[in-house]
């Protein structure tokens, strides 16, 4: 273990917020803290980096109690990326990155050719060489985070601690940054400890996840063990919406009431329609979905009226009967445009049934148009 904690308590003003924290990061591994805002992720990280005084317990860095390291020796072993935004006046990105050499340079901060090479290497690793002589205040947020990461790398740490490095970034830059972190961990064998807001991304890059909530760490483990829908919903106290760990997607609150439409879905053609219904607060029924269809993942959290068939099975009479019942209840029948082939050939029966009971049958396009026009009364 490059860094580990034993029975660590963290908090402010001598008051413990979270106690008995036991975590450890090995060389080349990525450990991520996840949890809701204000749960204390930053407090834990800041205590490990010695920005905050610990309340109790022990932190061991490189086989030695962290308190025993001098400021300079600590800086050579651990570097950070903080949440605070910095705007140094008239400072080029090169200068920012070169500051990472601080613990290694002489009393006047003179860079040796070797230091220069490390600065350029770090910039190259985060793909920011072309920014070297731009002013730090004049580049975009995504570029800034990359430059700050280069600065942290320039310190040549064994342990890299990042506090929510992806905040302020758009999705492309989030992925880019995490991608770099992954490369870094595996190529440079750096131990990476970070906190993240995006649980879906956390699951993908981490070797170990730690859920921070309450005064103890209750859940920790590899992503596939920690990432269960119920655990995530509990961690974030999701009562209204839901979180799908398979997709890493979030669905908003399910609309309640009698279904306003039956949606003939399947082959992922239903998801956009389901979400549209949710957006307008309209309950819906849908079917007949196979469990291995992506539509079923979203349908089951957005509707209580779903006709579901087991994966790789075929549609039986019971499914048809239930679907017909839903069609009777709903004022309109919507054909999502899903292709009808061998496995779902009996969809034809449902279409014909809808016509026979004189339900208005809407195509995907006309349905969306009607929803969008706000002319929802006319629909029924």
């Amino acid at each position: 273990m490059q860094v580990k904690t034993k029975k660590l308590s963290v908090g402010y003003n001598k008051k413990s917020l979270i106690s008995d924290i036991d975590l450890g990061v090995e060389k080349g591994k990525i450990v991520t803290l996840i949890g809701p805002n204000g749960s204390g992720k930053s407090t834990i990280l800041k205590t490990i980096t010695r920005h905050l005084e610990k309340i109790g317990g022990v932190i061991v860095l490189d086989q030695r109690n962290i308190e025993k390291w001098s400021n300079k020796e600590l800086a050579k072993r651990m570097s950070v990326m903080l949440t605070e935004r910095v705007a140094p006046e008239l400072m080029t990105c090169h200068e920012v990155v070169a500051l990472g050499r601080y613990p290694y340079t002489n009393a006047f901060g003179k860079l040796t050719p070797e230091d220069e090479a490390i600065v350029m290497d770090s910039l190259r690793l985060v793909r920011a060489e072309d920014l070297a002589y731009r002013l730090f205040t004049q580049i975009s947020d995504g570029q800034r985070q990359r430059v700050m990461l280069a600065r942290a790398l320039c310190q040549q740490p064994e342990v890299l601690v990042l506090d929510e490095p992806t905040s302020y970034l758009d999705i492309r830059h989030k992925i880019e940054l995490l991608d770099i972190l992954q490369t870094l961990a595996s190529q440079k064998q750096v131990a990476v400890l970070l906190s993240l807001h995006e649980i879906d991304l956390a699951a993908k890059i981490s070797d170990w996840l730690i859920c921070v909530k309450g005064d103890r760490i209750k859940v920790a483990g590899p992503p596939d063990e920690v990432f269960l829908d119920e655990k995530m919903c509990e961690l974030y106290n999701l009562q209204t919406g839901s979180y799908n760990t398979l997709f890493g997607s979030v669905e908003l609150t399910q609309p309640k009431g009698e279904p306003e439409a039956f949606i003939l879905a399947g082959n992922s053609m239903g998801i956009p329609l389901f979400r549209l219904m949710q957006k307008y607060g309209l309950p819906f029924s849908t079917g007949i979905l196979f469990e291995n269809d992506a539509d079923s993942q979203v349908a089951r959290v957005l509707s209580d009226h779903v006709v579901m068939a087991p994966a790789f099975s075929s549609i039986n009479d019971a499914h048809i009967a239930q679907a017909k019942q839903f069609i009777d209840q709903a004022p309109v029948f919507v054909h999502s445009g899903t292709p009808i082939r061998e496995q779902n050939a009996r969809y034809i029966e449902l279409l014909e049934y809808a016509k026979s009971v004189k339900k208005p049958v809407l195509s995907r396009e006309s349905f969306i148009r009607k929803l969008g026009s706000g002319n929802r009364k006319e629909m029924t």
């Binding site: 400021n71 006046e89 500051l99 990472g100 002589y133 600065r151």
Partner: protein, 343 residues
């Protein structure tokens, strides 16, 4: 990449050479202009070969103009460096000895001395005024330092400094209520600042204080550079933040107290000159800016003093009048250009 670096070095050289030329020019102008104009060649002879001992020109140059211009140069430089250090400390471009109430503190104690001590004993030894100003400046900085233990927010601390300054002004006004007209006139003329009291004797002390402070500030330039990224990052690079902040504030206070003690409060130099230095160098690196700042401040104060002495001769303007007149627009221009740079 190499091109960018070369351009920076060329820029540094140009600026330094330009400043040295302006410095030389301002020295020459300060030596030869005044109530009695002395041609440059004669002045050179008098200074370099100590010619014409006993003549009026010799006396004017050696006893009045030389000590005065040297004082103006050194104190001007010191004030600018002090401003730069304070701006680094507060990470705020408008921080400066004048804004923070250091000058008001000095004025308060000086006012007390002029009004009450002189009132009681009738005489005022000049060193007492110097000591009073020094004590007043350090008193306020001490207050600000104590408050800095309680708040981590630099803008808040800046506000505290400004408020303490107001309290000092209020106390000064309270003193003035009980003062004689003569004392009020003395205090007012002191509080506008002037290099006219310069003398060789003081220059020695000034050189020692400023020299040592400058040396220390150069030694602090490495952590100052890291501090530009904020306290958190500075700490993570291995800086002892408490020690560093204390050192920074003590050095800057000693510098500005020294200036206030020997020349009175001089406004705007501390804010304007560091900005000019940064713009000229297109850099904020302390190790580059501290010397540039010193040189720039020296030139700025020499020219301002020249204007103060000669514009309405034989009446002399207060140095504060001139520095404000030139300094304030610089501050405004800089604020506007900063806004533009951000957007």
């Amino acid at each position: 990449m190499k091109k960018a670096k070369l351009a920076t070095i060329i820029r540094y050289q140009f600026v330094i050479i330009g400043l040295l030329i302006s410095f030389a020019l301002s020295i020459v102008m300060n030596v030869n202009t005044g109530t009695v104009d002395i041609p440059p060649l004669d002045a050179f002879k008098i200074i370099l070969s100590n010619a014409e001992v006993g003549s009026m020109e010799h006396n004017i140059i050696w006893k009045i103009r030389l000590p005065r211009l040297l004082t103006a140069a050194i104190l001007g430089g010191a004030l600018s460096v002090s401003g730069f250090l304070l701006q680094t400390f507060f990470r705020n471009p408008i921080a400066g000895p004048f804004v923070l109430g250091i000058s008001s503190g000095a004025k308060m104690v000086v006012g007390f001395v002029i009004i009450f001590v002189v009132g009681a004993y009738g005489t005022l030894p000049p060193y007492l005024l110097v000591l009073a100003a020094f004590a007043g400046s350090m008193l306020i900085m001490g207050f600000v330092l104590i408050f800095s233990r309680y708040t981590k927010s630099m803008p808040m601390l800046l506000v505290v400094g400004i408020m303490v300054g107001y309290i000092c002004s209020a106390i000064t006004n309270f003193f003035i209520t009980f003062a004689k007209d003569n004392d009020i006139a003395n205090l007012t003329s002191w509080s506008m600042g002037s290099f006219s009291g310069a003398a060789w004797g003081n220059l020695g002390i000034i050189c020692i204080i400023v020299g040592i402070s400058l040396l220390f500030s150069i030694l602090l330039s490495k952590p100052m550079n890291a501090y530009r990224l904020g306290e958190g990052y500075a700490k993570s690079m291995g800086i002892n933040i408490k020690l560093f902040r204390a050192a920074l504030i003590v050095i800057s206070s000693v510098l500005s107290a020294c200036v206030t003690a020997f020349a009175g409060p001089i406004s705007f130099v501390g804010i304007a000159v560091p900005q000019i230095a940064k713009l000229l160098m297109k850099s904020g690196k302390p190790i580059v800016i501290i010397p540039t700042c010193f040189l720039c401040g020296a030139v700025f104060c020499l020219f301002c003093d020249l204007i103060a002495r000669t514009a309405f001769a034989p009446t002399e303007l207060a140095i504060g009048t001139v520095t404000s007149l030139f300094g304030a627009p610089v501050v405004i221009a800089m604020m506007i250009s900063r806004k533009r740079e951000r957007s």
